[in-house]
Amino acid sequence: MENNNQVQKPETMRLEMESYSHNEQFARVVTAVFLSRLDPTLEEMEDVKTAVSEAVTNAVIHGYEGGEGKIILEATLEDSAVTICIRDNGVGIADIHKAMEPLYTSKPSNERSGMGFSFMEAFMDSVTVESEPGKGTTVTMKKKIGR
């Protein structure tokens, strides 16, 4: 039987958008349409959408602190896995380890739950964060589809 959870050749897409909060949904929708080529289950689709939403929201709220800037979303489908990279050129993170601690938030007054990175880690197979103060943040996440 043909394996639908696989692409013949690696495919890449790149989306550059403003750091407006309405682009959180836009990023989710674009990722979902691209990911559909791997014929994911509804659950896999929702997992990836949630992880993308978390990372883009972080770029909007923390990276650019509500101000303007560009967010770049890149995704690659290779064999039966998706790799998603979300990058901003914002303020960066001084202590990545602390930022990734469950329930930690630098903005408690904004009613942030501090669960963003925990959700990304729960829904994707791997999450890598690269960041430097003043130089922005890059979050790279991978997930195998159709295991």
Binding site: E24, Q25, R28, E46, S53, T57, E111, M115, F119, A122
Partner: protein, 111 residues
């Protein structure tokens, strides 16, 4: 049909504020939710907030932050917060967050 905004209604006989959430609850769609609900809480004697997820099929951690914020305020006032109309996906998110320890599910009593 997609519901893209939050609707709130207050039932005085049960001192309950019902928050009908939009189809997608994220940082963008929940921006005005806090101010909107604070207005109700400042105006009425509210003992319970019901978050109705009947029309919701997506929520990320921003929604958890909103629920926690309302819970803290209601706890101070001696009231509580419940959720209803939760589908499988939303249930998974709520479970994962651990929020059911403080905000239980309630069955829908109206249609």
């Amino acid at each position: 049909m997609k519901v893209d905004h939050t609707e709130m209604s207050y039932q005085s006989e049960v001192r309950t504020l019902t928050v009908h959430l939009p189809s997608e609850v994220d940082h963008h769609t929940s921006k005005n939710l806090r101010e909107q609900s604070e207005q109700f809480l400042d105006t009425f004697d509210i003992q319970r907030i019901v978050f109705d997820f009947s029309d919701t099929d997506f929520m990320d951690s921003s929604g958890i932050g909103i629920l926690l914020g309302r819970y803290k305020r209601m706890k101070q006032a001696g009231g509580d917060v419940v959720v209803c109309g939760v589908n499988e996906r939303i249930n998974r998110i709520l479970k994962m967050s651990g929020i059911y320890q403080i905000i239980p599910q309630m069955e829908l009593k109206y249609q």
